[in-house]
């Protein structure tokens, strides 16, 4: 039953050849993509118009596309607040309707008086008002994307609370979130009453941070967004991607920019360097909810990867705050060995393990049984739980 390495060997050899060929083609593709970026680097107004007019979500450049900013000075004393969350999904087979959100956070002060606060706060939702989003006759159960949005709001709100509690001593403080600041999950359903219900509290939390003057940023690892490459396509192809002559002329039949993650465009950033700053561009109806809180982003070589860093607009527009985000995210990744330390800690605090889930379920079953609520766990759930214990 052992692996027959003799038979695998030739296959590996063939794979090597294929990969080498692909790599060579990719290098060529990247060179063309960058050439496109260089060509458009200073074309800011035109690009902004393209972004604003496009039906796709494209980036609006806020400075020359090929701008590079080296790492600013690290303040002596500073503080980073990170939040993350996890959830126990509503369980349709379970004995009761509920969901649980667990927000974990890390508040770490660096410098002359180092300290760290790591904690989490679980919240169980079971009231009707929590379980459903209702508007008149319509009632939508909170689950999946909606639950994620609720969670993101809770995380950000917690960040704001922590910033209020900690950020008043004059020490530079940054609130860092995990993933995108944009609740893109709601993009698909424009005009939906859900947006208002779910987005408003989120934007409101952002506003609280703005009032506190605490910079807000988020860290997107291995970003796959194509907002800049998409912009370049539209800029170079005149809106007609299918007939991109430059690409077609290469004889390879596909566009160098199509589907190319933005991060590939900024691959030549040195560690610590950040790219140009962009603003996200939202459709008008969506933008109405965001008002003046539409997030900005840039790419940053954190050493181990090219990450996308998003920031609230009032953070991006404030050079001091921007520099703080730049250097602290870089430093956090350094401390976190490739991923911001506060987010790693916050995640550890937030995560609900299988074991925890089982314990929670056990506690819940027991409590409800004592309260006289009949159990209705399915056999399937039961068997799952047995394994977990």
């Amino acid at each position: 039953m052992t692996l027959d390495l003799l038979k695998v060997g030739p296959q590996i050899a063939r794979m090597g050849v294929t990969l080498r060929e692909r790599s060579a083609r990719y290098s060529l593709r990247l060179a063309r993509a960058r050439a496109a970026l260089a060509e458009q680097a200073a074309n800011l107004d035109a690009l902004a118009k393209i972004a604003a007019d496009s039906r796709r979500r494209l980036a609006t450049p806020l400075e020359r596309l090929d701008a590079r900013h080296s790492l600013p000075q690290l303040p002596c004393d500073y503080r980073v607040i990170g939040t993350d969350g996890s959830q126990i999904e509503p369980d349709r087979h379970g004995i009761a309707d509920y969901y649980l959100l667990n927000v974990g956070w890390a508040v770490i002060a660096y410098g002359s008086q180092p300290s760290a606060e790591l904690a989490s706060e679980p919240r169980l939702f079971f009231e009707r008002g929590d379980l459903y989003v209702a508007a008149g006759e319509r009632r939508v159960p909170v689950q999946d994307h909606h639950l994620s949005a609720k969670r993101a709001t809770l995380e950000l709100g917690t960040g704001a609370d922590l910033a209020r509690a900690h950020g008043r001593d004059g020490i530079p403080t940054l609130v860092l979130a995990d993933g995108t600041l944009l609740l893109w999950v709601l993009e698909d359903r424009p005009g939906d009453f859900l947006r208002k219900e779910l987005l408003s509290p989120y934007v409101e939390a952002m506003s609280r941070l703005r009032e506190l003057r605490v910079p807000l940023a988020s860290y997107v690892s291995r970003p796959r967004s194509v907002e800049v490459s998409g912009l370049l396509i539209e800029a170079t192809c005149r809106g007609d991607t299918a007939s991109c002559r430059a690409c077609a002329a290469s004889g390879e039949g596909d566009c160098a920019l199509e589907g190319l993650p933005d991060r590939e465009l900024f691959r030549d950033l040195e560690p610590g360097e950040r790219s140009a700053r962009f603003s996200m561009t939202l459709s008008e109806d969506l933008g109405a909810y965001w008002q003046d809180q539409v997030p900005q982003f840039f790419y940053l070589n954190v050493g181990s990867e090219l990450a996308r860093v998003e920031a609230s607009p009032w953070t991006g527009d404030d050079p001091t705050a921007l520099a703080l985000v730049h250097v602290l995210v870089y430093e956090q990744c350094r401390k976190g060995l490739g991923y911001p330390a506060v987010l790693a800690r916050a995640h550890e605090q937030a995560v609900v393990s299988m074991r925890d889930r089982a314990s929670f379920q056990h506690l819940l079953d027991g409590t409800l049984a004592r309260a006289g609520v009949p159990a209705r766990s399915s056999e399937k759930q039961l068997s799952k739980r047995m394994r977990a214990v």
Binding site: I108, P114, A116, E117, K335, R345
Partner: protein, 196 residues
């Protein structure tokens, strides 16, 4: 009573494990610890101290670089002390019940989540009055019994300033217990000799 140093996270009649309330703040190897219960008090000798991530998945990685080493690593990463933990395990050597010190194992283990205290000098003096617990230690399997006893005797000697010959008495007790194992005895005694 002194502030507790840790809390029991694993327990058995013969030994109990506690997590130190502060990372890195374990009672020293070989020291006496106790768990005070309403009716009785368990006494143990710390024989193992381990540090690691607070959760099984959290595995410490090498962080030293660019001249940042040792204490500087902790200074630069204040969160480390929160996600690392120190556990210590104590071998139960006896218990006190009805004001009487018994040098055999208690009928029940000290319960989970009870606090563990470091014994005061006075208690160390009392516990080391009779050295019958040496037998328990020597008989314990899979613990560094010899080194443990040597460490314990060195610590007890500090508390027993009034008995200059304590080490000698302890050595003789060992010699009596290890009369059939001279090599082992010799090893422990050589560990006691330093600092004389």
């Amino acid at each position: 009573m002194s502030e507790p140093i840790g809390e029991i996270v694993e327990t058995a009649v013969a030994e109990f494990t506690a997590q130190a309330y502060q990372f890195g703040q374990s009672p020293p190897f070989g020291s006496f610890v106790k768990v005070e219960l309403p009716d009785w008090t368990a006494y143990g000798l710390v024989y193992a101290i381990r540090s690691g991530g607070v959760e099984p998945g959290l595995r410490p990685v090498v962080r030293g670089r660019d001249g940042v080493r040792d204490a500087a690593i902790y200074a630069e990463n204040p969160d480390l002390e929160q996600v690392l933990r120190t556990e210590f395990t104590a071998l139960t050597i006896g218990f006190q019940e009805d004001a009487e010190l018994r040098t055999f194992l208690p009928p029940q283990p000290p319960p989970l989540h009870w606090s563990v205290h470091v014994c005061s000098d006075d208690e160390v003096v009392r516990l080391s009055e009779q050295l019958e617990y040496f037998r328990t230690v020597l008989a314990a399997a899979q613990i560094p019994a010899d080194a443990l006893l040597a460490a314990n005797i060195r610590l007890a000697r500090l508390a027993r300033a009034g008995e200059p010959d304590f080490t000698l008495r302890a050595g003789r007790e060992l010699a009596t217990l290890l009369k059939r194992d001279y090599a082992r005895l010799n090893g422990i005694l050589r560990g006691l000799r330093t600092g004389d």
